[in-house]
Each structure stands twice: as structure tokens, then as C-alpha cells.
Amino acid sequence: MKLVMRAAYAAGILATGLALSTGAVNAQTKIGALYPFSGGLALLGDESFRGLELATEERNAAGGVKGQPLQIVKGDAVDPNQAVGEARRLTSVDKVTVVFGTYSSSLSLAATQVTELAGVPYFELGAISDPITERGFKNLFRSNPTARDFAASMVDSIGDAIAPALGVDAKSLKVAIIHEDSLYGQTVAGYQTKRAQEKGVNVVETLPYSAKSVDLTPVILRLKSANVDVVLQTSYQNDTVLFFRQAKEQGFKPKAVMGAGGGYSLRETMEAVGAANMEGALNVDFTQYKTNVSAAPGITEFVAKYKAKYGIEPRSGHSLANYVGAKIFFDAMAAAKDFSAPAIRESVLKVDLPVGATASGWGAKFNEAGQNTRVSPFVMQWQGGELVTVFPAKAAVTKMKTGLGSN
């Protein structure tokens, strides 16, 4: 008995000693990572997180931030309610210094309210809904382009890229805006309509439809009747597949079709539609991987790092967007006086990177609302089953083709 008691005492002292010593030696900066790791958004939530993970590992290998390594604390935000709960846990229980996230706009909108109240800086790396940075928050910063940037890029490219490629006057093109009718589609379409008015683009039809549609033939027949030349679509995966299939079946061949990310960026969509049918479909989204490295320095190294760690090619441009954003904010944190919220804010607002300075081709200059103003999404095109960047010229890897479908 006495032996057991003595052994227990010894173990206790050893354990306490160890705990104290590790506490002293391993001082780390905890950063929260709030993404949808499970549920319907899990695929791209995880993909987005991988960008943050790669950036963190890279930074830690180079000595961390202010000499301390960064430690990621994950939060799983399946829906807005859970996002709020996890944000609370990260800020009050785990006491993270800053929070990174989130991929989904509705999750971000919810979680950032918690962090703003708690006075913890939140770095948004991938959600595009504009209202996120339009609420007057002082501790919220976003590195990626917003829905308004996407819409502007799409409408501007009609005059800057599509009309010249077709050899016609931009004003002569009949444009239709079609979109799925939830928040994503309505937001982007709303900005597209405004931008089109500003630029004098001739929008002949605006048609919202349900993303759960079983049949888009009436939409296509309307477009056909109006002799639409250019279709701007904002859609998820299912309706994108339906649109392309039924457009072919009804014999609708516009001069150009352009998507706003969503279903247009996914490989599975192209496979379901058929590479030949999707040939020539344009897409505005986060930077993808077939981009000219002179406009996106570091992109090849990023892909190599991704493949080395995860064993496959990056599944979408979200990981790149998160990687680039995380790096910008790590540098801002390193340059800040300390990790208090006002010091971080001051440092972030001083960041000044020109366009083309990062691996995604974006620059970095944050306005008072915390939004990066030096981001403009590139235009990609499906060619031969690959999504390649075609505009602007500096970022392009190949020329833009005209027309839709190679059959």
C-alpha cells in the first residue's frame, strides 16, 4: 500500500512538473478556424480550410508570427446556429486571438456578430456576400472579392472581352440575366443589373427561377424568343446541368454564356454536361489553377505544396483564396504592435500590396469597412474539359474562344 501511495505521489509531481514546463516552453498563438466541416457544405468548407492550414504550416516553418508558432483551433459550423455557438466557444473557452473563416456567407454573417461583440478580430477569407462587411464592424476584415466584384467583372467583360472577341459593338449585344432565386442568385443578379445600367449594356430579359427546378425549358424558350446573344447566369450545380442540357436539346446557341462561380466552377458539372457541350462556357470566380504565373506569382508553388500534403490536385480555387488571405493577415499580425484588436486593425489598414502581388493575383488594400478593394476576379473558360483563365490578358493562359459547345 505504501509503495502504491509513494508511486502515486511521484507520478503526481512528475505530471505537474511536466505540465508547468510545457506551459512555459510552448507559448503559442491560438487562431480559430471556423468552417463547415460537416453537412452539405463540407466539401468546399474543408477545401477552404486546407488553404488556411497550408498557410499556417508555411508560416510556422518560417518561425511563426512574432516568434511564436500558430496553433489552429477548429470550429465546425454546419449552420448559422452552430456557427454562433462555435464562435462563442472559440472566443470565450479556447480564447483564440483571432478567428479565420468561413466559406459560406450565412455562416459568416452569424459568427462575426459574436466575434465583434467579443472584440476578437475576424478574418473572412472566402464568403462573398457584400453585407458581411457593410455593418460598420471594426474587427472584421475580408480578403476576397464580393458578389458586387463578381457582378462587375461579368458585366464589364461583355464590353472588354466578349464583344472584341466576337468583333461586334458591345451595345449591339442582347444580354439576359438568369439566376436561381435564393440569396446567392438575387444578390449577384441585383448588382449585375445595376452595373449593366451604368455601363449601358442592353439587358433584354431578367429571369429568376428556382434552383430546385425540374425543368428549365420555358426559360430557354424565352431566351430563344428574345434572340439573346449573351447569357449571364448565377446558378448552383443542378440548375447549371439542366440549363446546358436543355439548351442543347432545344437548339439554343447563344454567342456566350457566363456563370458566376457556383455550379460553373465544378468538375462534376462539366462531366455531367459533357466536355463538348460545355466548351466555351465562361466563368467568373476565385482564381483557378490554369492561370498565368506572371499575374499570380506563387501559384505553382502552392499547388505543389497542396499535392505534397493532401495527395491530390486542389479541388477548387477556394483553398488558394484562403491561403492568400491567411498570408496577408499573418503579415499584418506580425507588423502589429501587439495582438490587441485595435493594434491589429491599425496594422491591417496599413497593408498595401499591388494587384498581382499574391498567388491568386489579388492585391491588398483594406477600406474602413475592412473590405479588400484590390480584388478583381478573373474570367475563366471551359476548354477541352479544363477551366482555363482567359481574361485579363496578363492572367490568361490562352485566348478566349467564342460560341458555346463544340458539337
Binding site: S210, K212, S213, V214, P218, L221, R222, Q237, R245, E249
Partner: protein
């Protein structure tokens, strides 16, 4: 004029798709009187099964229909025996919760196993456009129309000319009286649910080449299926068919002439109007005949 006819053809094809999916629900809702919210998920199971058989084993979708029909029949039998039967005498709301729970479980199980991506059945000879004059229609759609008509006629004949069919109708009219007449009601219910699910199995084999499979694909069809069933008059096969045709035509025409995002408003409004003037549905057997 051209567009109008193309829209009407499109509406009829859409209607035949709804008819195929709703016939099974007519049996389940009309006979067992269970609001089966998991009906869409039966379609989803069928579509994934067809995808696996076609893309992994190389079967033609129409050939895959046979094993899928059997698979769905067994699924329906299991659902009725182990989920619905214990709840037959319970409050209706409990039955609804059970089917909603089943629906959620199936969608998430599918999400876990297959992920959120869409799966498309490769079938180049079914998505071929056929020209009826100057109008476009798909081979697969014509097959679906033919199958829908055959299914409806066949089921109607079955229900009226065979002993089992009569037993099913008797149970639907009055469960207790049927029991007294020596009908094994529990067995009838099991067979009926199985048959209803098998109809969905056939539908899924025909729909798969035209529509990619996703975990939530069932939800796109289920609400419309309920509307079709009630519109048609709950227990009538022909009613379900004509109800589906009406919905399909209204869907197609209102999406073009009014707006694509308002088409549900139009057909639900028509649905409400028809029920106000004929509460039993178009072909009787609805609320009024209890």
C-alpha cells in the same frame, strides 16, 4: 404559335414524369392514408441504384429498371412493416413525424455515403432529340410518356379486375369492415406500400437518364407529387395521371408566359381553386367520400 406548341409538348412530357412519380404515392396515400414524406427519398434511392448499376456494371438504364423495381418493392415492404405498421393506430401526426424522420435520415445517409456531388447516368441514346415536325422532344421523354400511360392503365385494371386489387380497394374504403370480411389488412398494407415503392422504382429508372442524382433530388418532386395526388382524387389512378398532366402543362406555360419563379404560384392557385369547387379532387374519392 410555334413556341406555344413546343411548350405544350414540354408540359405533357413533364406531366408524364410527375405522373410516374405520383402513381406510387396515390397507392400509399390513397390506400394506407399515410402522408409519406419519404416518398421523394424512395425516388432518390432508386436513382442512385440505377446510377450504380449503369455506371459501375454497364447496364442500360431501362434494363436496370428490373432489379431496381424489386429493390424498391422490398424497401417499401420494410418501411411499412417496421415503421408504419406499429404506428397505424397512433395519432396521424406521429405517422407524419415518422416519415419526416425517415426522409431526413435517408437524405443524410446518402450524403454520408455518396457525398454532395451529383451523379449522372451515362446514356447517350436516351437523351437524343427527336423531331416531331419542327418541335423538339427527347427519346427518353417519349418512353416516359408511354410507360406512364401503360402503368396507369395497368394499375387501374389490376385494382378493378383482380382479387388482390379488390381487397386493396376494400381496405382503402373501410379498414375495419375489410378486416371483418376476412381481408388480412396488415398484409394488404405491406403489399400496397411495396407496390407504391416499386412504381417509384420504375419512375427512377426512367428519370435517371434525364436528371442527375443528388441527395436532395427527392425534395424537388415530392411536393408536386402530393399536389398531383390530391388534385387527382386520392385513390384514382386516372385522376393522378390527369392531375399530373394539368400540373405539367400549367408549369410549362406559366413559366414562359408569366415568369419562371412564379409558376408554383400559378399551379398552387389552380389547385386551391379546383379544391374549392370540387373538394374531392377531380375524380372523386377525396375528402368528401370518407
Amino acid at each position: 404559335m410555334d413556341v406555344l406548341i413546343q411548350l405544350m409538348i414540354n408540359g405533357i412530357m413533364l406531366g408524364s414524369m410527375y405522373a410516374m412519380i405520383s402513381v406510387g404515392l396515390t397507392l400509399i396515400f390513397g390506400v394506407i392514408r399515410v402522408v409519406n414524406f419519404a416518398h421523394g427519398e424512395l425516388l432518390m434511392i432508386g436513382m442512385y441504384a440505377v446510377y450504380l448499376l449503369c455506371n459501375k456494371l454497364g447496364l442500360h438504364p431501362y434494363v436496370a429498371a428490373f432489379p431496381v423495381i424489386v429493390l424498391l418493392f422490398l424497401t417499401g415492404v420494410l418501411i411499412q412493416r417496421f415503421i408504419i405498421q406499429p404506428l397505424l393506430d397512433a395519432d396521424e401526426h406521429i405517422q407524419i413525424f415518422a416519415t419526416v424522420g425517415l426522409s431526413t435520415a435517408l437524405v443524410n445517409l446518402d450524403l454520408m455515403v455518396f457525398g454532395a456531388d451529383l451523379y449522372s447516368v451515362t446514356s447517350p441514346d436516351i437523351r437524343v432529340t427527336v423531331k416531331l415536325g419542327t418541335y423538339n422532344v427527347l427519346v427518353g421523354q417519349l418512353v416516359m410518356l408511354g410507360a406512364a400511360i401503360a402503368l396507369v392503365v395497368g394499375l387501374h385494371a389490376f385494382m378493378h379486375k383482380t382479387a388482390l386489387g379488390r381487397a386493396i380497394r376494400a381496405t382503402a374504403q373501410n379498414r375495419n369492415a375489410a378486416l371483418l370480411m376476412g381481408v388480412r389488412v396488415n398484409q394488404i398494407y405491406i403489399i400496397t406500400f411495396g407496390m407504391g415503392a416499386a412504381c417509384v422504382g420504375l419512375a427512377s429508372a426512367l428519370v435517371s437518364p434525364l436528371f442527375p442524382a443528388t441527395p436532395t433530388v427527392g425534395t424537388y418532386f415530392v411536393l408536386t407529387a402530393f399536389v398531383v395526388v390530391v388534385l387527382g382524387g386520392m385513390r384514382s389512378m386516372y385522376g393522378a395521371f390527369w392531375g399530373a398532366m394539368i400540373i405539367g402543362l400549367v408549369d410549362s406555360l406559366s413559366a414562359y408566359y408569366i415568369a419562371p419563379d412564379l409558376k408554383e404560384v400559378v399551379y398552387f392557385a389552380i389547385f386551391i381553386l379546383i379544391l374549392i369547387f370540387k373538394p374531392t379532387g377531380l375524380f372523386g374519392f377525396g375528402r368528401g367520400t370518407e
